[in-house]
Every structure is written in C-alpha cells, then in structure tokens.
C-alpha cells in the first residue's frame, strides 16, 4: 500500500463539474482549480500523510477509496490554486472550518451504503454532528473505526458523559473490560430501530438478541418486560444488583400496591428478618419475573 495508484505530481487534470444534486457541492473547491496529485500535497503536509498511510482511504486497490481517485484532492478539492499560493487556504475544503452538513455531504458521497445510508435524518445528523465529530482520517487514535479517541466510550462520552459514567457502576455489562462497546448495541449512523439500536425493531428485540432466555413467548407474560426491558433495567449500568433502576423491593412496589406483602413498609426493622428485603428480595420467590412456563406461574412463582 505504497500509494502507487495516487496521481503523479505535476500531471494536472481538470476538476470534474459538480453534480448539482450532489451535496458535496456545498464543499466545492475553488473554480478553475486543477488536480495536482498527492506528491504536491505531501511536500508540505507530511503530518497528515502519516495518518492517511495507515487508513483504509489509502487502499488504492479499493476503487471507492480516495487513493483510487484523486488522492487527497478527492475530499479536499482540486489543489492547484493552493499549490500555487499556499497562503490561499480557503480554496480547499478544510474540514475543520466546513459546516457539519458540508462535512457529512462530502463523506457520504462514498460512505453511502449499509448503516451510512441512514445517516441523513438520523438523531446525530439532525443535531449538527458530522463525521469528524467522532472520526479522524489523519490522526485517528483508536485501534479500529478511525476514531478521534482511543475507545468508543471516550468518543461517545464527549456528549453522553452520564451514560459513560454509568459504565463504572458496580452493576454493569462488560464494556469496561473491553468485551462490548457502545456500538455493540447502538449504531450511531442511524437505525431503523428506536434509540439508534443496532438490531431488531424494538428495545426488547435488541436486548433479547443476546439475552434470548428472556425472549419467550411465555405462558405467563410479565407485560412490562415485553414492553421494554428499560422499564426496570438501566442498560448502561447502575449501583443496584442486575442493573436495576432502583433497589428491590422498592422497584416492584412502584407498580405492585396490592394487599398484604406487596404493600408492606419494609423498614429497618425488617431488613435482617424478612426475606422480602434481603438477598434477592421479591425475586427470591417470584423467580421467573421475565415470564414463566410453569402452569402455576401466574405470579412468576411456581
């Protein structure tokens, strides 16, 4: 991957006309400029080249990469005017000064398949994030995904700091151990599911794609668990056992106010004497709380 397919310096080619329906026009280069080739760019921009050399964009054998097209100028625009007068930086597409929509339009000219096809209109796109909010072509720090930070969590925490903080609670999924990432469940580029979820068509379908033992359908259904796992669980982590949003029995008592034990005040006098408080609390007896196939499982006991 020595960049052999990159245009040869000095062989100038006229920049093609922008297709008026193509968003990339928003970030067009200066009129009348011509392509000068990578070598002309690299004469000054050595630092940018180091990142580019390790980047998939540099795979010239892939006909969809910049390297197979106009090299640096595929994204930054024809550079002859800048090469003639390096002080004229505005004649190039500088991603740091472009608007988010211009950046996204440039990248999605090629990244227009798979989940990227859902970028326009996605939650992130609608809030003026662009590809370079998370990714870096020239100075990526991550092992994969060309991210601006070392890990996905660090990238997502730029805005979702509260979610990242929850990963450090005692009840958590194996993200901080490196066995999962934010993108295990979410697709930041857009999704046909809610909450940018990667799989399925509902929250429950996403969760049960791994936790299939909770999938059912059961003889006795616990409706809230089918309606949405997040009614009771915080998937990003919590200080409670099993990542519950609050402790049991208080969690169960948010819905179960029935006579006798569901409506008992489990105060300090009972915490060491009532099995409805200590250990697994309500779930000690109501074991199959996600649903039961036991014929007597009406109350998720047997």
């Amino acid at each position: 991957r020595a960049g052999s397919a990159a245009p040869v310096a000095g062989v100038e080619k006229p920049a093609p006309r922008q297709n008026s329906s193509q968003p990339i026009a928003a970030a067009s280069s200066a009129a009348g400029a011509a392509y000068v080739g990578n070598a002309a760019c690299l004469g000054c921009h050595d630092a940018q080249n180091k990142g580019y050399a390790d980047h998939p964009h540099h795979q010239a054998s892939d006909p969809r990469t910049p390297a197979a097209k106009q090299g640096c100028e595929t994204c930054h625009g024809a550079g002859s005017k800048h090469a003639d007068n390096p002080e004229e930086v505005h004649v190039l597409n500088n991603f740091k000064t472009m608007t988010p929509s211009q950046v996204s339009a440039t990248c999605t000219e090629c990244h227009n398949r798979g989940e990227h096809a859902l970028w326009q209109g996605s939650a992130h796109e609608k809030r003026d994030l662009s590809c370079i909010s998370c990714h870096s072509v020239h100075s990526a720090k991550s092992e994969s995904g060309n991210l601006k930070e070392k890990t996905q969590t660090q990238v997502c925490a730029q805005c979702h700091r509260d979610k990242a903080a929850k990963l450090d609670r005692s009840g958590h999924m194996p993200l901080r151990e490196g066995k999962m990432e934010c993108s295990t469940c979410h697709t930041p580029h857009g999704s046909t599911n809610v909450r940018n979820l990667r799989k399925g068509d509902s929250i429950a379908e996403m969760c049960t794609s791994c936790h299939a033992d909770k999938r059912g359908p059961f003889l006795w259904e616990h409706a809230p668990s089918r309606d949405g796992c997040v009614t009771c669980h915080d998937p990003h982590g919590s200080s409670n056992e099993r990542m519950l949003v609050t402790k049991t029995p208080m969690l169960c008592q948010r819905c179960h106010v029935g006579t006798r034990h569901p409506s008992t005040i489990y105060d300090q006098a009972l915490i060491n004497t009532s099995v409805r408080v200590y250990a697994r609390s309500c779930v000690t007896c109501h074991t199959n709380v996600h649903g039961s196939n036991h014929p007597s499982g009406q109350f998720f006991v047997r």
Partner: protein
C-alpha cells in the same frame, strides 16, 4: 478494545509509543505490522476477588495479550488478533480483506461472569437441573416440632456447606463474509454461536416462610444467522435481509430439595420444581428501499416481518409433590407463537442551507398468538392444590406502537440553528389496564456549531401521555386482583414529561478544550394515586482536556447525577384496611452518583519513555425515606387527606458504594522494535447495602431461609504487570 479504563495493552497500541515512533520513521510504508505484548502479572486482593475480576480473568502468572499482526499479500490484507491467551477471557480473531471486493472474518471470544467465590451451598447435583440435599439433613430438620428447632437443625447442617464458585461463561464464535460487486451489489452473511454454561443464583420458595436460594444451571446455546443483500446504484439503494436466531436451553426445569421436609405430604413437598427459560426461535425478513431525491432529500422505506416461537417442550406438571393429586393441564405445551411486523418510512430534506425537514412514521406490532391457557386449579410452591375461582387464564400480551415524528430546523446564520419537532405516539396493548395510550411530544432545539471552536446544543421537550379507558372499569379490574384501584403502572400511566438538555464544548486554544453539560427533567404521573407518582433527574457534567504538545496531555472530567422518585402505597390487608387512606405511605427515594475520570500522558520522554496515568472514581448514594400519611405538595386533588394510623417506620440506612481505580503504565523503548514495560493498577470497592452486604447476609441460614451467601463485599486489589513489547 479497552474502554474507559484503558488497559496497558491498549495504550501501547494506540498512543504511538516511543518505540512505534521510531519504527514509523524507519518504515513509513509498512506492509507487515503488529505487536505482541507478553510478560507476567501478579495480583494481591483483600476482599471480594470475584467482583474485582467479574468479566475478566486477572489470575497470576504469565500472560500473552495484545497480539496484533497485519500483513498484505497480493492485494489481500490479513489481520489477526489475540488477547488474554489461555485465560478465561481469551479472544482470537482474524480477517482477510480484498479491499473493495471481499472480506471474511471470524472471532472466538470468551466472556466470564464471575459472581462469587464465597458462596456456599448444601445442594449437590448429579443430574443437570436436579439439586439434592443429604436426606439426613432434611430428616433432622423435619423432625423438629418448632420453627426454632428447625432453625437450629439447619444451622448445624450448614456447618458442612461446601464453598462453590458462582459463575458462568459465554463462549462466542462469530464469523462472516462480505462480497462487494462491481455492479453495486453487496452480499453480507454472518453467523454467531454462543454457548453459555455455568450457574446463576436462583430463588425457590416453599411458601412465604421457607425460601431457598439455589444455583440454577445455565446451559444455553444461541445460534444466529444474519444475511443481507444490498444493491446501490445511482440514487437508489435496495436491501433485503433474513435474520434467524435459535435459542436452546439444555435444562428447562429445576428441581430442588426442600430443606425443611424429607417426605411429601399434602401441605408441603419434599422437593420443588420450577421452569427455566424455554427454548425458542425468532426469524425475520426485512427489506429497505432508499432513494436520494433532488434538493438534498432522501426517502426511505423499511419493513420487516418476524416470527417468534416457543420450541414446543412439554409443560411441567403442576407439581412434583407425589402426595398431591394430579391436576390436569389445559394443554401439553406452551404453543407460544408471536408474529412481529415493523414499518419505518422516513423523508428527510435539506432543500436549502437554511432549512432541514425530517418526517418519519414508524409502526411496530407484536402480535402474541399464544392461545390462552386456562387454569381452574393450581399448586402454589408444590404445597397444596387450590381452586382458582373464577377460572384463570393466561394473558398473552401484545402491543402495537405507532409513532409519527416531524422536525423542522432553520439555520438563519451559519453557526446557529433552531428547530421545532412534534411526535405523536399511539400504543395499543392487550391485557394491560390501559389498552391504549396516546402521547404528544413537542420539542424545541437550539444549536450553535462553530466548527472547532465552540459547540452548544440545547433541547427542551414537553410530552403528555394519556391512558385511554374507563376509570371505573380500570378500578374494577385492579380491585379484582387485589390492587388499589388508584394504582397506575408507571410505564403506561398518564404522564406529563418535561426535559431539557444543554451540552457545550469550547476549544479556545488548540491545546485546550472544555465541555459542560446539564440535563434536567421531571415525569409527573398525574393520575397515579398509587404507584410511582413522579420522578426527577438532574445531571451535570464538566471536563477539561489539555494537550500542550503531541507528547504531553491530560484531562479530567466530572459528572453528577441525581435522581429522585416518589412512590406511594397503602399498607393493607383485605377488608377495611384496603380502603383506609390513613394507611397510606410513600417512599421518597434519592439516588446520587458522582464520577471523576482523569488521565495524563507523557510520551516519548527523551524519545524512549512513555508514561500513562489513568484514574477514576465513582461514588453512589441511595436513600429510601419512608413517609407515612399524605405527602405535602404531591397529593392528588381528589385524594382523601387524613392523618396516618401507621406506626412510625424506622428509616432505612443509606446505601453507599464507591469504586475507584488508578493505573500507571510505563513503557521504555529499548530499540525501535522492543520495549519493556510495567504497569501498576489499584482498584478499590467499598459498599454498604442493607439488602446484600455482609451485615444483611450475615449467614446462609437466615430465619426461614437457606441462602447461598451471595453478598456485596468490599475489595482492594493491586495488580502489577511486567511486560515486553515487540513491534513488527
């Protein structure tokens, strides 16, 4: 792949260490790259080592981790990876890519879940799903005439309890292939197979006064196949896919001996038996059509159809108690079947630089076709046959959710945009107190994005959800099952919601950046006399990053979360108490968590030495305060306000937990390829929890219970690594 606490291996990978920098200079266009990281590790732990390890293997000894090897041969790019070789959390993966044309990948990963090494049990198992006690133990307890005597007999028995590790482990194989054709066709197929084995804590009860905690076997297999074909040509993108998922549980029932009885009698069983998760399958087909229209517009239509089925295993009999008569089953199997369908249509347009328009309609249907299962008798806890009158039936829950979203955003000047949006959400359900809920949400956004220097995003949202239905019918339905007629399940209850979020980031200098964020919100369940009445959240965050040079940097961030909730109830037995408002009480809960994260790097010190420091601290507090009588300012207008007749409760102690970590990593570059490194990490957990700490679970034979002794225990762990790093 490290996350918030970068493991030393990740630092050597991603931070361009001194050795790597040297190698870069000598070989700027490498065709073979990689690293290997190996050495020895030792850990000293005081306290709960299982919680320290949790999803990883931190045992002592030699390690090989962070193996990466990438090479190019004849246009193909090959990547291999190995982490934690030979450990319980090992992972291996590899891929071969012909760029722009074809790729194939595979991975084998193991994820342990270590819950406890201090749990104890009297149960043994020779057959999966059958837990037995020594007959002598059961006999000695049964022989006692009083509960106190039984307690003494059980206490004597548990002195012989064996210590067991409570853990499970996932073994995950996944692989796939993708072909990208010249014609715009992309074919992708992937498979995944997960074996999970081990055991998890599981409760069992022989009535309200006799409960056991056992270890339920986990022998799960999950096999998934996902395939898709996508065709992109010009402005058109068409995709079709098939997803299949099969879950198989080798052990679908758990039978466990009763510590209090050796022999079956008509009012108590010597064993209990319960169902475990059933095997099932889910298959779906989906299709998507997306077209890029003029004026920077795109229309997308997505649809899917799915089928969820129970595998058809026979239902368990009502009881395993041989002294009870056989109660006939309505049918022999669950016959579980549900169909799903989803449609997602969206239109997004950016006709000018000033205007953004987004419209989306989404509907999801979960149609549960499982036939109702009728019971006229049941056996609770394997103890006794009881008549169900009137006859009961299962309630196969189903739902249809339809959501319409519309957003318009204006960008009058380049750096400022403002938007308004509306959502209409209608949900139809079966077998819930509200069979329909309707919610209208209005949101307003105001953003400012000035490229690299400053960004601010604000959003305010107001939503009103209302449950549709007759109040008297709902009250009758709730009363029939012993619930208060004024109770509303909070996930579907009528609700007013207000939320606001603000995030801002500034980079005043190339070397310095700040960010702050704040969010607040309140859910007010306006018709809920009982159940969750309201909840509020306040979340604040701030961070600063400083990078004076490429080699030196650091940062610190803090977030504070505060959640409050008021939940109301009435302590009542059937009869007059049920309608007595003087027996009302409430839980006013507060969860508060503060998290600090900090890091500092100093790389290429004298071109030889890299130093990385990372630390974080998460401190949580939970307070559950009981209030008897009316709650000032949060009582519904129609509610009777009377003085309490309940005894004053003794308030619960504060729940506390604190997890802190510090990790120092130093790597010295011996040559351009070899480095020597050492790391030192300290992790500390402190906890005080009235349901699960060592005071709450002081022994496994608490009154009326035989437990495993699974506890929240503190720990302090110190791990020291010495490693060599070789870079290809």
């Amino acid at each position: 792949q490290a996350t918030s606490a970068p493991a030393p291996v990740a630092q050597t990978q991603a931070a361009k260490p001194a050795a790597a920098a040297a190698a870069d200079e000598s070989a700027p266009w490498p065709t073979t790259t990689g690293t290997i990281n190996f050495g020895s590790r030792t850990t000293s732990i005081s306290g709960d080592g299982a919680r320290y390890e949790r999803y990883r293997d931190m045992s002592d000894g030699l390690f090989v981790e962070g193996f990466r090897f990438a090479t190019e041969r004849r246009g193909w790019v090959f990547d291999t990876l190995a982490d934690h070789v030979g450990r319980r959390d090992q992972r291996y993966s590899g891929s071969a890519v012909l760029p722009g044309r074809f790729k194939v990948w595979g991975q084998w990963d193991q994820i342990p879940m270590l819950m406890s090494r201090t749990t104890q049990t009297l149960f043994t198992s020779t057959t999966p799903g059958v837990l037995q006690l020594d007959d002598a133990v059961q006999a000695s307890v049964q022989a006692q005439a009083t509960a106190a005597g039984q307690g003494v007999a059980l206490a004597n028995a548990v002195t012989n309890a064996r210590q067991v590790e409570l853990s499970s482990r996932r073994h995950i194989f996944e692989g796939g292939a993708q072909y990208i054709g010249h014609t715009g066709l992309t074919l992708t197929s992937s498979v995944r197979h997960v074996n999970r084995d081990g055991q998890i804590p599981f409760g069992g009860s022989f009535g309200h006064s006799n409960v056991v905690e056992t270890m339920a076997p986990v022998k799960h297999q999950l096999s998934d196949i996902d395939t898709s074909a996508e065709y992109a040509q010009g402005n058109l993108l068409v995709r079709g896919g098939y997803d299949g998922s099969w879950f198989h549980n080798d052990v679908t029932s758990l039978t466990f001996d009763n510590p209090w009885r050796l022999t079956d009698i008509g009012s108590a069983g010597s064993r209990g038996r319960t169902s475990l998760p059933p095997s099932n399958s889910f298959m779906s087909v989906n299709g998507m059509l997306s077209y890029r229209l003029p004026h920077r517009s795109r229309a997308t239509l997505y649809g899917s159809l799915g089928s969820l089925r129970d595998a058809g295993d026979p239902l368990l009999p009502f009881t395993v108690n041989t002294a009870l008569p056989v109660v006939p089953l309505d049918r022999a199997t669950t016959d579980g079947h549900a169909s799903t369908s989803s449609i997602n249509a969206s239109f997004s347009s950016r006709p000018t630089k000033m205007v953004d328009v987004d419209v989306r309609f989404r509907t999801y249907d979960y149609n549960n076709r499982t036939p109702e299962f009728r019971i006229v008798q049941r056996v609770g806890y394997d103890n006794a046959v009881s008549v169900v009158s009137p006859a009961g039936e299962t309630e196969p829950f189903g739902l249809t959710r339809s959501t319409f979203d519309a957003d318009v955003r204006l960008t009058p000047v380049r750096i400022v945009s403002a938007g308004i949006g509306f959502t209409r959400n209608v949900e139809d359900r079966t077998h819930r107190i509200f069979e329909q809920t309707r919610e209208n949400v209005v949101r307003v956004t105001a953003d400012s994005v000035t490229g690299r220097w400053f960004t601010m995003r604000t959003k305010f949202e107001h939503g009103e959800r209302r449950g549709e239905g007759s109040v008297s019918e709902i009250a009758a339905e709730l009363s029939a099952i012993g619930e208060q007629p004024g109770m509303r399940h909070f996930d579907i209850a009528s609700r007013n919601r207000n939320r606001i979020t603000v995030t801002a980031a500034a980079t005043p200098l190339n070397v310095l950046s700040f960010d702050v964020s704040a969010a607040a919100g309140k859910d007010d369940f306006i018709e809920s006399e009982f159940g969750l009445r309201d909840n509020q959240h306040r979340v604040y965050g701030a961070g600063v990053e400083l990078s004076p040079t490429d080699e030196i940097g650091g940062g610190v961030s803090y977030s504070l979360e505060r959640y409050t909730a008021l939940s109301r109830s009435r302590q009542a037995n059937p009869g007059v108490q049920f309608t007595d408002p003087s027996r009302n009480w409430a839980t006013d809960s507060l969860d508060r968590s503060g998290s600090w994260t900090g890091h500092a790097e100093w790389l290429q010190i004298k071109r030889k030495l890299d130093v990385n420091l990372f630390g974080d601290l998460s401190r949580s507090r939970g307070l559950y305060r009981y209030i008897t009588g009316p709650v000032v300012d949060r009582t519904l207008p129609e509610e009777a306000v009377v003085p309490t007749t309940l005894p004053q409760p003794t308030q619960l102690p504060l729940v506390r937990s604190e997890l802190s970590r510090v990790n120092l990593d130093v790597v010295y570059a011996l040559t351009a390829r070899w480095g020597l490194g050492t790391s030192f990490g300290v992790e500390r957990y402190r906890v005080s929890d009235f349901t699960l700490d060592s005071q709450a679970i002081s022994r496994v034979d608490l009154p009326g219970a035989l437990l495993l002794g699974y506890q929240y225990l503190p720990y302090t762990a110190k791990t020291f690594w010495v490693r060599a790093i070789y870079r290809y």
